[in-house]
């Protein structure tokens, strides 16, 4: 799942934002930009030289994705518009694959799915964060805006395919080792089966979230790249 929080694009531009919050957001988006561009370069180098992508780029991607939790706090404190719940769900979707599944199933760390995920995520973010940053600094150039609203067309399907691939391949290992699961009986009378959690996630929630987000981004793309000349009504 992508982390394209449906914050209105105006949210970054809002001139009423206090200076300190604005300065902080510039710093945050700048750092994320550097992080994801590095992740992107390392991933491409790994592919080029035929080395393990997870071993080479895994750490960088994990740091960037962990730091992205700040975006939930940005929404919660109101320095960026948008719902904190949505921000959290989008952060959680990716983090679940990265920290919940991949980190605990070494068996799939070298899978093709990881390649797809790392390429899709890092390329998308290496465009998104520079765009946010230039939004905060002024107006982004036309080509950057075009990239920001076009990259997702191939990258989202690529990413979701990778995420689904990794999840499905990890399922038997999760079940066998009972990863992140507790069973009855216990004193808290609580049971949680991560295997089912992932199975339901990959079969229903992931596709639904993908379709919703993809259509949303396509609408945004139409709005931003081909704005209709607005005829103001009285």
């Amino acid at each position: 799942m992508s982390s394209d929080v449906p914050t209105a694009w105006q949210s970054m531009k809002s001139s009423s934002k206090p200076d300190r919050a604005k300065a902080y957001l510039k710093l945050y988006n700048g750092l994320q930009m550097i992080g994801w561009i590095s992740a992107c370069i390392i991933t491409l180098v790994a592919i080029w030289t035929g080395q393990s992508i997870w071993d080479l780029a895994g750490f960088t991607v994990q740091v960037c994705q962990a730091a992205a939790f700040l975006e939930v706090i940005h929404a919660a404190t109101g320095i960026v518009r948008g719902s904190p719940a949505t921000a959290f769900l989008q952060w959680f979707g990716r983090s679940n694959v990265l920290f919940g599944i991949l980190l605990y199933t070494p068996e799939v760390q070298q899978d093709l799915g990881v390649t797809l995920i790392f390429v899709a995520w890092s390329l998308a973010e290496a465009v998104r964060y520079p765009w946010y940053l230039s939004m905060l600094l002024g107006t982004p150039s036309e080509w950057l805006t075009w990239l920001r609203y076009s990259c997702f067309i191939p990258l989202y399907p690529l990413g979701i395919t990778g995420e689904a691939l990794v999840t499905v391949k990890a399922l038997p290992h999760i079940q066998r080792r009972s990863v992140h699961s507790t069973h009855l009986p216990n004193r808290a009378n609580f049971a949680f089966d991560y295997y089912w959690f992932c199975l339901i996630g990959v079969s229903t929630i992931m596709p639904a979230a993908f379709v919703t987000l993809y259509l949303y981004m396509l609408r945004q793309r139409r709005k931003r790249l081909h704005p209709r000349p607005e005829a103001k009504r009285d």
Binding site: L184, P185, N186, R187, A188, N189, F190, A191, R233, D234
Partner: protein, 306 residues
């Protein structure tokens, strides 16, 4: 007079205007719209006037008032919004509370179908107590719906029925599944019983809060906003939520079940949002200016933290 009623897109709802008597009431206007558009019964309609200078919110036309109260004349323009198909509050409340009683009782009494991979074991006393408390709680809610509560609105959008029922029925199944599980680990009854007694006490307090709240409104549900007084309301704006949450915390501890804790966590989150909104509204109305009462300093929902 012919009154111009426009929808949000700016289009006139009834071409040529709605015929209504200048000395009529808002209800007359609603009925006139209903006559012209039989699909749009009055409770589906939201009628507003453009915001006054200095205010951002449009003025909502209230059913009991006269058109002249809002200075509506032949030149006025009323904005219309279709609220969608409506359903009675009491209907929704009945189904959302009846479901949990049924779901819980079924899971309690039919373990051979709910837990087909486990041998059926006799129920523990704590599990019996939990069933009794659960059933009592939702029965109380149903009775309150019909005998105590006074609703300011008669209806709500029909989608709420689906939404509310999924929430209550779903959580009932989730909580009941764990409490009635053949592998359930019960706390000692000596610890559980006092906790259930305390939970019952909270329910009694919650009931008293509801009585006090219903007295603030006339039987028709009208009465605007009044400062709730008496009992725990002297300290907490939403004392009813406070009792409710406390009761469920005791239930969680009494049954020693995380699922019940998650249920009350979700409920508390929603109640906190409502409580915050109500507190803010009361403080705004009773600001102590222009002869208006000043809203006393109170906790919003849960002393000493919120």
């Amino acid at each position: 007079m012919k009154l111009k009623v426009v929808s949000r897109s700016g289009k006139e709802l009834v071409a040529g205007g709605v015929d209504v008597d200048a000395s009529g009431t808002v209800e007359d206007l609603s009925k006139a719209i209903y006559r012209a558009k039989p699909k749009l019964y009055p409770s589906r309609q939201r009628l507003t006037l453009p915001a006054e200078a200095g205010s951002k919110k449009p003025r909502v036309l209230e059913a009991g008032k006269k058109l002249s109260d809002y200075d509506i004349n032949a030149n006025s323009q009323v904005a219309f919004k279709d609220l969608g198909p409506q359903i009675g509050y009491k209907t929704v409340f009945f189904w959302e509370y009846f479901g949990p009683v049924l779901v819980y009782a079924l899971i309690y009494s039919l373990p051979q179908f709910v837990y087909p991979w486990h041998r059926v074991v006799p129920k523990n006393k704590v599990q019996d107590l939990a069933l009794a408390y659960w059933s009592f709680h939702y029965t109380k809610r149903i009775l309150e719906t019909f005998l105590v509560h006074r609703f300011s609105h008669a209806t709500m959008p029909i989608f709420n029925l689906v939404k509310n029922c999924s929430y209550y029925w779903g959580f009932a199944a989730y909580v009941a599944y764990f409490i009635n599980h053949p592998l359930y680990t019960a706390p000692p009854i000596e610890r559980a019983a006092p906790l259930f007694a305390f939970a019952l006490l909270c329910q009694a307090a919650n009931f008293w809060c509801h009585i006090l709240l219903s007295r603030l409104r006339s039987p028709s549900g009208k009465g605007g906003y009044t400062i709730p007084r008496g009992f725990l309301f002297e300290y907490i704006t939403c004392a009813n939520y406070f009792c409710e949450i406390l009761g469920w915390l005791a239930f969680t501890a009494g049954t020693q079940t995380v699922a019940a804790g998650l249920f009350i966590a979700a409920g508390s989150f929603q109640m906190a949002l409502w409580a915050k909104a109500k507190h803010a509204r009361l403080r705004k109305i009773f600001d102590g200016k222009n002869g208006q009462l000043k809203y006393p300093k109170r906790w919003i929902m849960f002393p000493p933290v919120f």
